[in-house]
Symmetry: C2
C-alpha cells in the first residue's frame, strides 16, 4: 500500500511524541511492505512564530493532499497567561478541523489490563470498561459567533447546532454501536439548553433507524458523575463538542493516564489522528511525555484511514507486551506495585519500535 | 433567634428528602430555643400541574419575604423524554435563582472519613480532600438568549458574561480562600471561548487584590481530569455556571455519593439551600433516597444565613456519628466492608433526628 502521510508535530510535547508515532509508521512500512511517504507542516504556536499564522495556507494545502494526518498538540503558556492576544495557537487546530470537515472525533477509552492499578479509580470499578466516544467536532460553542463589547466588559460565544450536524455524527455513532455492544448513550443538557433540545430530538429520531441499539439520554452533569461511578455501563457515548471535550479528558482517568489515549477525527475527507493530551508545556523537553498516545493514534490511522487491521493490532499488542514486561512512563507508573522500569519518552519509543 | 423559612419540596425525591431537612430544623429550634416559622410553596413539575407555571408568583413572593429557603429538587421524566415541551420544571429553578439574585452557588465537597471506601476512587487519593466550589449561578449559557429557527432545524443558546458578574463571585471566592487554604483555582476554556477569556482576565485582575492567595487557572477539560487524578490539590474552585454544573456533579464521586452533597446559593438577598442531587424520578417514592444532602443543606443554612455555627456543627457531627455507627443509605453502602446497616430514607432521617 502506498500512502502520503502529513506529520504536524505542533507545540510543546507534540514534537517529542509525534517523532515516535512516525517512527512506528516507518517500521510498519518496512515490516509489511508498504510505502509511506512523509511530509511535515507547521501549526499552532510553532506556525505563529514562523509565519504569523497558526494555520498557514501551505499546511492546509498539504493536509488536503495527504491520505492521513498525524498531529501532536498545540498550545503555549504565553497565550494561556494573556487572554487578550488575538492570534492564538488553538485557532490553527480549530480551523483545520473545520476546513477538513472533521466532524466526528472518535475517542476510544482503551484499557490495558496492566494499567488497571495506575488509575486513581478502583480496579474493580474499571475492569471490563470499553467506551467509544463520538464527540462532535466542527460545531457548538467552539465555532459559533464570538463577540466582545466595545468597552470590553461583555463577551459571548454562540452555542449553536444545525440538525444535519447532529444527524451525521449520530449515524456514525449508531453504526459503530451496531458493531460493538449495541448500546448508545447520548449526552446533552436538554433540561436547560435549546441546542441540547434539538440534539435530543434529533438523536431520538435517528435512534428509530437503529432499533437493535439500546439508546439512553443523560444530562451532562449526570454523565460526568456516572463515568466515574460506573464506567462499565457505557458502550458508545455520543455528545457535542464542548461536552465531549470535558468528558473525554475526564474519562482519560479510566485508562490510567491521558498519555494513553488516542483519537481519530474523521468526516468528509482526510482523517486526522492525534493524542487527546495537550501540549503540556510544563513537561516539554524533559523526556517525560508518554509517546504511547501518539503511537496508538497511528494504530487508529492504520485501521480507520487505511483499513490495515493487522498492522493496527500489532501495534496494540506490542504496547500490551511492553506494559506486561513492566515498562512504564512516569505518568502510568504505580508505586504501590513492584518496582517498574520507568522510562523516558525516548526509551519507551525505542522499546515499542524494537 | 426568630426566622421565617420557606420550604420548597419540588419534584421527585425532593419532598421525601426535604421532609427530613425540615424535621432537623424543627429539632434544632427546640434544642437551641430558636423560633423557626415554616411556610411551603410549589415549584417545578408540581407547580406546573397545580398552576401551569413552574414558578408561581405566590412562590416568588413567599421566597422574597423569607429569611432562607430550603429546596428539594425539580425535574420529571415527562419533560426529559419530550424536548419539545415549552413549559418545563427547570425553568422554575432558573427563574428563582435569577429573581433572587443568587449569583454564587457554594458547593463544599465534604468528605466523611467513614465514606472513604464508598467512593469508586481509591481512598488514598481522596484522604484529606476538602474543596469548596464557587459556581456562578445567574449568568452564562443558562441565561443567554435562546433561539430556534422557524424550520426548527437550528437551535442556539448564547454563552455570555459581563465583567461585573465575574467580579462579584470572584470576590466571594477569594474571601473564602482567605479563610481556608489560600489557594484558588479558576476554571475556564479561555483557549477557545471569548467569554472564558473575559473570565480569565477578570479573575487575573481580582487576584491582584488577594496577593496572599495562590491563584491557578485551568482549562475545564484539564480540571475535569485533575479532579479525579488528584483531588487534594484543590482548595477553592471558582467557575462559570455550566462548567460548575458539570464539575460539581463529577466531584460528588469524591464524597462517595451525590446523596451527600449540599449547596448554598447566595447573593443579593435571601439564601437558598439545596442538595446538589436532582429529582431522581427513578427512585422516587421507594424510600431509597439519601436524606443527608438535604440535612447538610440545613447545616449550611444555619451557618451561612443565620450565623448559627454551633447548630450547624452539631448536625455535621451527628451525621458523622451515624456514619461511624455503620449506618448507610444504599447509595453510600459499601459491600466490601463489614455488613452495614443499610437504611431507607425514613429510617436514616429518624436516626439523625434522634
Ligand atoms: C486545544 C483545544 C482547542 C482542544 C479542544 O478543546 O478541542 C483540545 O482540548 C482537544 O480536546 O482536542
Ligand atoms: C436542574 C438543573 C437545571 C440544575 C442546573 O443545571 O443548574 C441542576 O443540575 C443543578 O446543578 O442545580
Amino acid at each position: 500500500m502506498k500512502k502520503n502521510i502529513l506529520v504536524i508535530p505542533g507545540d510543546g510535547i507534540g514534537p517529542e511524541v509525534t517523532q515516535w508515532g512516525k517512527a512506528v509508521l516507518e517500521q510498519i512500512a518496512i515490516s509489511f511492505n508498504h510505502e509511506f511517504n512523509f511530509d511535515e507542516a507547521l501549526m499552532g504556536h510553532a506556525a505563529i512564530e514562523a509565519t504569523g499564522n497558526p494555520l498557514p495556507d501551505e499546511t492546509l494545502e498539504k493536509a488536503r493532499k495527504s491520505d492521513a494526518i498525524l498531529f501532536g498538540a498545540v498550545g503555549h503558556a504565553k497565550y494561556d497567561n494573556d487572554p487578550s492576544l488575538k492570534v492564538r495557537p488553538e485557532q490553527g487546530l480549530l480551523k483545520i478541523r473545520k476546513e477538513l470537515g472533521l466532524y466526528a472525533n472518535l475517542r476510544p477509552i482503551l484499557l490495558f489490563d496492566e494499567l488497571l492499578n495506575a488509575s486513581s479509580i478502583k480496579a474493580h470499578i474499571l475492569r471490563g470498561t470499553d467506551i467509544l466516544f463520538f464527540r462532535e467536532l466542527t460545531g457548538d460553542v467552539y465555532f459559533g459567533e464570538k463577540t466582545r463589547s466595545e468597552d470590553k466588559n461583555t463577551a459571548s460565544d454562540l452555542m449553536i447546532y444545525h440538525k444535519y450536524e447532529i444527524e451525521r455524527i449520530a449515524h456514525k455513532a449508531y453504526e459503530a454501536a451496531m458493531q460493538r455492544g449495541r448500546k448508545l448513550c447520548s449526552v446533552d443538557k436538554a433540561n436547560v439548553l435549546e441546542s441540547s433540545r434539538l440534539w435530543r430530538e434529533t438523536v431520538q429520531e435517528i435512534a428509530k433507524q437503529y432499533p437493535e441499539v439500546e439508546t439512553q439520554h443523560l444530562f451532562v452533569d449526570n454523565a460526568a458523575m456516572q463515568l466515574i461511578k460506573d464506567p462499565k455501563q457505557f458502550d458508545v457515548v455520543l455528545t457535542a463538542n464542548l461536552f465531549g471535550d470535558i468528558l473525554t479528558d475526564e474519562a482519560s482517568q479510566i485508562a490510567g493516564s491521558m498519555g494513553m489515549l488516542a483519537s481519530a477525527s474523521i468526516g468528509d475527507g482526510t482523517g486526522f489522528f492525534e493524542p487527546i493530551h495537550g501540549s503540556a508545556h510544563d513537561i516539554t523537553g524533559k523526556d517525560l511525555a508518554n509517546p504511547l498516545a501518539s503511537i496508538l493514534s497511528v494504530a487508529l490511522m492504520l485501521e480507520i484511514s487505511f483499513g490495515l487491521k493487522e498492522e493496527a493490532q500489532l501495534i496494540i499488542s506490542t504496547i500490551d507486551r511492553v506494559l506486561k514486561d513492566g515498562y512504564r512512563t512516569s505518568d502510568i507508573a504505580d508505586d504501590s506495585t513492584s518496582p517498574y522500569k520507568v522510562l523516558g519518552t525516548q526509551d519507551m519509543g525505542k522499546l515499542v519500535l524494537k
